[in-house]
Structures are given as C-alpha cells and as structure tokens.
C-alpha cells in the first residue's frame, strides 16, 4: 500500500462523482445528438462572432483586471491605513455574490435610467464591468499574496544600493509577483470565457457568449449535436487553461515566509495614491452591491416590509439556507478527499476544475437524459449544487496543503505525537483558514448558483433565486419591488454565510494562500 495506492483510494469518491455528474452527462448529450452537426456551424459568421467575442471579452477582462488590480494591490499591501484589514477581508465579497444579484446591481447602475445616468445597455461595457466586479478581487488578492511572499530584506537591500522605488518595483517586486498574477489571470480568463449567467443577463443579444449560444441551441432548438460540438470546442480552450493554472499553482507552493514587508503609513502624495486605489476598489467591487441596497431601500420606502410577509418568502429563505448547508457539507467532504488525493498530482489538480470548464447547460440536459427517473429528486439537485461548489474547497485546500512545511509534522511525530494529534495540533490549524475560505465560496455558490435554474424544479423547492425569477415573471410594481427586496435579502444571506465561515479569529493570520 504505497503513497500511490493511498492517493488512488482517496480519489475514488471525487472521481466517481465527477464521472457520474459531469463526464457521463456530457457524453450522453453528445450521443443523443448523434454527431449530426450542421454543415455550416463553424462557417456561420454569426457564430464565429460569438466565439471571437467570448475570447475577446475574456482577454479584455483579464488585461483590465491586471492593469487595475496590480496598483490597487500594491497600495493595499504596502500602505497601512485605518480599515486596511477590513478592506482586505471585504475584498472577496463580490466573489461570493450570486450572479443574479450582481447583474441586478450592474443594471441598477448602468442600465437605462441607471443611478449613474449613463446607459451602457447593449454595449460591451456592461458585461466587461460585470466581469471586473467578480474577478478584480481575485487579481488583487493574488497580487497581495505575491507581494507578501517577498522578504523585506531583499527590498531593503535594493533600496540601500540606491534603487528608486520604481526600480525596486520592476526589478524586485514584479518578478516575484508575476507568477501569482499569471495564475490569477488564468482563473479570470476561465471564468469569463465559460461564463454563463452573467453573459446571459448582461450581454444582451449582441454581446452574449458561446455558452449562451449553447443554452439557446439545447434549450430551445434541440440542436444537441451543434451544442455538443461547441461545448467540446470550449472544453479544448478551458481545459488547456485549467491545466496551465494547475501547473502554475503547484509551482507557487511556498513555505511560510519569514520576514514579510510591513505596511507603512503613506506620506504626502502617497495618500493620494491610496485614495485612488480605494476609489477604484469602490467603483468596481463596491458600487453594484450598494446599488442593490439602494434600490431595495427605495422599494421598502414605497411598499414597506409587507412584501416580505409572505409564506413563499419564508419557504424560499428556508430552502436556500437548507440546500446551501447540505451542499456545503457534501462539498466539504468531496473537497477534502480531492485535495488530499491531488497532492503532488498535476492531472488530479486540473480535474478539480472540471465542473467549471464543462458547459453547465450541457451537463444539466445530460443529467436529464441520463437519469430521467431521478431528474426531479432532491438528491440529484443537491448533487448538482455540490458539483459546482466543491472545486472551491478542493482548490483552496490543495494550495494550503502545498505550503504546509513537511518537517513540522515530522518533528511532531518524532517527539512522540500520535498521527491524530499531529493532525489536530499541527496540520489542522494551518489548513483551517484555507478550508474556511473554500467553504465560504462553496456556500455562496450554492446560495446563488445561476446554472441550477436550468434544472427541473418543484414548487416546494422554491429558493430565493427561483422566487426572484417568479416575481419578475409577472407585471406590476409590487412584483418588481419585491424582486429587489429579495435580491437584497440574498445579498445579505451571502454576506452572512461569508462572515460565519470566513471571519477568522484574531489568532489566525488574515492572508493565507488562495487562488
């Protein structure tokens, strides 16, 4: 029973899960299509534009996230100011927001009659802004991590040798932070390229992505072969990027640092830099959430709380909480097993991305074809939630496991600690923050995952997301107002899950390795 055998044992459950919930459904859909791909599928200029636009918007979002994210991250990492640690923690808030809430926030800002008075509807900017809202925090966080890994002594040495701060950045900090940024950019590209919900809600007819086209082909035109061909094309691109990401991520595994650069008080013009950085952060990551809050308060002022006194709202609230809790438990189990198994295995690590890279539309319909008798059963619904949520736990833990100093458990063992005690006293405290963060993302995904609306639903399974759609499916001012209030409620619920799971105790260091 070698290390290899142990790993295979651990990997069994997550791999079986991926096979049953992701690979087989996709294959089943392809089989149903019988390979009857339209002759002009890839020569149709309309579709070529879709593919091109998908690539373009993902690339543009990545570049913009880099250009805005890096300076902001530098200021956050190097300057000490009141509210710094709060800003660093709140940074991940957009990432845990349900897609629907984010889209409603973006539309409230930049829609026709938006709060800012600029109508960006039917322009590419709306989707790009939405992409940045979700992904800028990822880049900022990664750059902060990278900057924190740099020993203070090296920067001090460069300064002593007479390098200007600018030169220090280019010659010392930039090379150190580059791999971190690259890995975050892979992730940003991946999310934007294969994005579905946001593109569907913000892209309009012209700026929708390939995934939206797949949705249209499967859901409404039943052209399964065409949809399957497009899904495979997507998979080719996303699969390559996911593997690159897994490779980069493994190289980043760094031992715990010794003398990180301490942030200092900005002086003179530096306050200006800091203010600009924080303003950017507010503009891209804060405004849509504030817009949702503002619109909800407006709705409240007109209609009062009576709109929420309703048995449907209670049912939806209860279900959202219940389903998320169950999905998070399942995701925690699968994530642990996958992360442990993926230790040192590149392909297992890349496989943790499978649920992100396989078209969710194809999976939803593949599951319907594969398990029709269970298609309206709760276990299958929860498994779908867990499928989309568990990669967050697996990835976060895999990173933490990599940076676990190997000699610490060895030392503990040689001092006579039992394996259980080593885990409880040495490994667990080091892994806990990453585990919590993974859970926070998983909970947020389960609360507001858009792709789940593709599955069959039962009235008794009403969740906040489905209730918002239900209200927006009827005319009338009350329905619009209650949809806004519900979106705000969903936002607060995501915030609550985030706080419960992610808020570390004072003893834990705030910034640990994360995507």
């Amino acid at each position: 029973m070698s290390e290899r055998g142990r790993r295979a044992g651990l990997a069994l459950l997550p791999l079986a899960f991926l096979l049953l919930m992701s690979i087989l459904p996709l294959l089943r859909l392809l089989q149903e299509g019988q390979g009857a791909v339209s002759a002009d599928l890839f020569t149709d200029p309309y579709l070529q534009w879709r593919v091109l636009w998908s690539l373009l918007q993902a690339a543009a979002s990545s570049v913009a996230a880099l250009l805005i994210g890096l300076p902001v991250a530098w200021c956050l990492a190097r300057y000490r100011f009141p509210g710094r640690s709060l800003s660093l923690r709140l940074l991940m808030l957009p990432f845990v927001m349900p897609t629907l809430v984010a889209a409603m926030g973006v539309l409230a800002l930049f829609g026709p009659q938006g709060l800012l008075g600029v109508n960006l509807q039917d322009t590419p900017w709306l989707l790009l802004y939405g992409n940045l809202f979700f992904n800028l925090p990822l880049v900022i966080r990664a750059a902060c991590e990278g900057l924190a890994q740099l020993p203070a002594s090296r920067i001090a040495a460069a300064r002593t040798l007479g390098a200007t701060p600018w030169r220090v950045f280019w010659r010392v900090e930039w090379p150190a932070v580059r791999p971190w940024l690259l890995s975050a950019l892979c992730l940003v590209f991946l999310y934007c390229f294969s994005g579905f919900g946001l593109a569907l809600l913000l892209g309009g007819q012209r700026y929708a992505t390939v995934e939206v086209e797949i949705y249209q082909l499967v859901s409404y035109e039943l052209k399964l072969a065409d949809a399957g061909a497009l899904a495979l094309l997507m998979l080719l691109v996303t699969g390559a990027i996911a593997t690159l990401y897994a490779w980069l991520e493994r190289r980043l595994a760094a031992p715990l640092k010794v003398d990180p650069v301490l942030p200092r008080r900005p002086q003179g013009m530096e306050w200006l830099q800091l203010a600009a950085a924080l303003a950017m952060l507010l503009l891209f990551a804060g405004l849509p959430l504030l817009a949702v809050l503002w619109r909800a308060l407006q709705a409240l002022a007109v209609s009062g709380f009576s709109l929420l006194h309703d048995e449907e709202v209670l049912l939806a609230l209860g279900n959202s909480a219940r389903f998320s809790a169950m999905a998070v438990l399942l995701a925690a189990l699968l994530g642990w097993l996958h992360a442990l198994a993926a230790r040192g295995s590149l392909w297992l690590r890349a496989l943790a991305f499978l649920p992100f890279v396989v078209s969710p539309v194809c999976v939803a319909f593949g599951l319907l074809l594969l398990y029709p008798q269970w298609s309206a059963s709760l276990p299958l619904l929860l498994a779908s939630y867990a499928l989309l949520a568990y990669p967050f736990v697996a990835r976060s833990l895999a990173g933490a496991l990599d940076s676990l100093p190997r000699h610490w458990p060895q030392a503990a063992r040689s001092l006579g600690a039992s394996p259980l005690r080593v885990f409880a006293r040495v490994e667990w405290p080091l892994l806990r923050p990453a585990f919590r963060r993974g859970l926070a993302f998983a909970a947020a995904t389960a609360l507001g995952e858009f792709a789940v609306t593709l599955f069959l639903s039962r009235p008794e399974w009403l969740t906040l997301t489905t209730l918002i759609y239900q209200r927006l499916g009827r005319p009338g001012a009350d329905n619009a107002a209650s949809a806004m209030l519900l979106a705000c409620l969903l936002m607060l619920l995501a915030l609550l899950a985030f706080l419960i799971i992610e808020w570390p105790s004072a003893a834990e260091r705030p910034l640990r390795k994360e995507s």
Partner: protein
C-alpha cells in the same frame, strides 16, 4: 410506554399512508400557480400525492418532454400551448385524447384546452401623454421615423410571447410581407430581448427602460393594477391592439405517452377545468378560463379583451415555425450587425 406505542402506531400508519398514496407527476411551465388549497383538496379527494415539476417556460418544457420521451419524467403535462402543440405531437410525446368539445370554447387539438389569452402590444400611457405623440394605428406605423426606437420585442427563438407575436404578423401579412416588415422594423431600431422578463423589466419605459411599447399579454394592464401597493384606479399601461399584432394563445393539458396513472391524470385534467380552478386561473396565471360563465375578478375591467386576432392554425405553426424563426433570426439579428 403507552405514549411510545401510540406514536409508533401513528407514524407507522402515516408511513403506510404515504407509501400507498399514488403519485401523479405533473409537468408544468414555471408560471404554474394554481392555489395550494385547491391542489390539496384534489390530493385529498383522490388519495393521490401531486408532484408538480416545473421545467422552465413552455418551449423549454416541451423540449425536455421530447428529450425524455423514452423514459418520461411525468404522467400529465399542463401549459402546452398552440405554438408548441404541433412540435410535441410530431415528436409523439403526448397521448391524443378525444377532447371534450364545447362550442364557443377555444380548442387545442390533440390536448384539452384549459385557458387562453392574447399576446399583444402594451404601451406606457404616461410616456405617450408626456411626449404628446399619437398612438400608432397600424403595424406599419411602427416602421415610421416618428416611432423609431420605441418598440421592444422578445426573441421568438427563446420566448413564447416573442414567437406568438411573430406568428401573428405572419398570419396577418403572409410570410413574404411579414419578413419585409421585420426588416423595416429592424432598420427602425426594434430592440430584441431574450425573454418577457428582460423586455418588461429592463426595456419597457414603465419599469425604468427606454421603450414605451412592449410585446406582452392583453391581461398585463389588469395585473399592473392588481399588483400595485396603492391599488391604482387606472392602469399605467394599456393594450395597443393593432391589426396583425394580436395572437390568441390557448393553453392545455394532456397525458404523457408512456406515463403512469392514466385514470388519475384524466381526473387532474378534469380538475383543471372545474369551476374552482377556472375561477382561480385569471388572477393567478393571468389567462382567461375556457369554461363559459366564469365570473372574472373586477380588476379585469382594466384589460381590454381583443375582439379579433390573427393566429395561424396549429398545423401551419407546426410545419413552419422553425423555418420562420430561422428566417427572422437571419433578417433581424444576424444581418443587423
């Protein structure tokens, strides 16, 4: 001990009751909203447990039914309409029933009609009053410069009201003229949204959008009054019943081929046509009941019921709809770029 015995006896009975109650799987679209007490009453009277399964809008629902025809996911389907009926019938997913025919009721050949309504244009009264623009009198008016950028429609490929509206224009003008009309509409800045929700809640000027005319339902103005906090005395919107822009949509129910519980399924269809449910439909799903003599809620005085409509027959829709939507997409969406 006695307590323990009693509770275990009760729970055993309950379990037995649950496992013995027959289950009827009802597939519906996501707008299904029959009052819960009515459904509970049906369950009680027939000793059945209803399993309501929502499968997206009517188009998605029919496609899911077709995809799972080898192993049906439901016993009875409600919400299939005359735009989708032909497709479902051609795929052989329904059990054709001799429908109960009553003269004067809208029919849905191949299924049992339950309710009906009209897809038509709604306009924002306040917008037109403020701009002092006269209302368009014909569909062709919408292609004139005075009405540039005022209309939002749903994509017929992804929305049933969108498809219904396209079908009504084709029925009124014939295919060639209708497609020419759409080309002119495109040049006059028609906006295409994915579905009704997007069109009504982000593009329609009544709800913060920029377009004062929207493709919606003839009952929407009544719903606007019904769902308003301050209980409006008049609707902020009204129907714009232009000739060639009214489609009669008939929704019905049918047994799913290969489904179980045929007897119960028939009872459920009869239940949907019972007075209690028919009376509930108007203010829960905003459709008109097919049974004559059902009193409507007074709020319906705000919804002008169309006197005429242009609706192709079911066979025509079944045979041509995919081709028409393809042509429409090429003209309006693809060549517009």
């Amino acid at each position: 001990m006695q307590l323990f015995k009693t509770t275990s006896l009760i729970s055993a009975l309950l379990l037995a009751g649950l496992s013995h109650a027959a289950e009827l799987r009802v597939l519906t679209h996501s707008s299904f909203a029959v009052a819960k007490p009515l459904l509970a009453q049906f369950e009680q009277q027939n000793g059945v447990k209803l399993n309501i399964i929502k499968a997206g809008d009517a188009g998605e629902m029919v496609n899911k039914l077709i995809l799972t025809r080898a192993n049906p996911i439901a016993d009875v389907v409600y919400g299939i309409d005359n735009t989708m009926m032909g497709k479902a019938a051609a795929a052989g997913v329904l059990l054709p029933e001799p429908a109960e025919r009553k003269p004067g009721q809208p029919q849905l050949p191949g299924a049992t009609s339950i309710d009906y309504g009209y897809v038509t244009l709604n306009y924002d009264k306040a917008w037109f009053a403020k701009k002092q623009l006269p209302l368009p009198k014909t569909l062709d008016d919408l292609t004139r410069p005075a009405y540039k950028d005022l209309l939002v429609v749903e994509n017929p490929a992804t929305s049933s009201p969108g498809l219904a509206f396209l079908l009504s224009t084709i029925s009124a003008m014939g295919e060639t003229k209708a497609m020419a009309f759409w080309a002119k509409l495109r040049d006059n800045g028609v906006k295409v949204s994915k579905g009704w929700t997007e069109a009504y809640y982000t593009d329609f000027s009544r709800n913060g959008g920029a377009r004062p005319i929207v493709v919606s339902y003839a009952t929407s103005p009544a719903a606007e009054v019904f769902y308003s906090k301050e209980k409006l005395s008049t609707s902020p919107t009204a129907n714009l019943l232009l000739p060639g822009a009214v489609f009669q949509q008939v929704e019905g129910a049918a047994l799913v081929k290969g489904g179980q519980q045929a007897a119960l399924a028939r009872k459920f269809i009869a239940f949907l046509r019972s007075d209690a449910v028919q009376k509930d439909i108007p203010t829960s799903m905003w459709m008109y009941p097919v049974q004559p003599g059902i009193a409507l809620d007074p709020v319906f005085q705000h919804a002008e019921k169309p006197a005429a409509h242009s609706t192709p027959d079911q066979q025509q829709i079944a045979a041509n709809s995919a081709g028409w939507v393809g042509k429409w997409t090429r003209i309006v969406l693809k060549s517009g770029q």
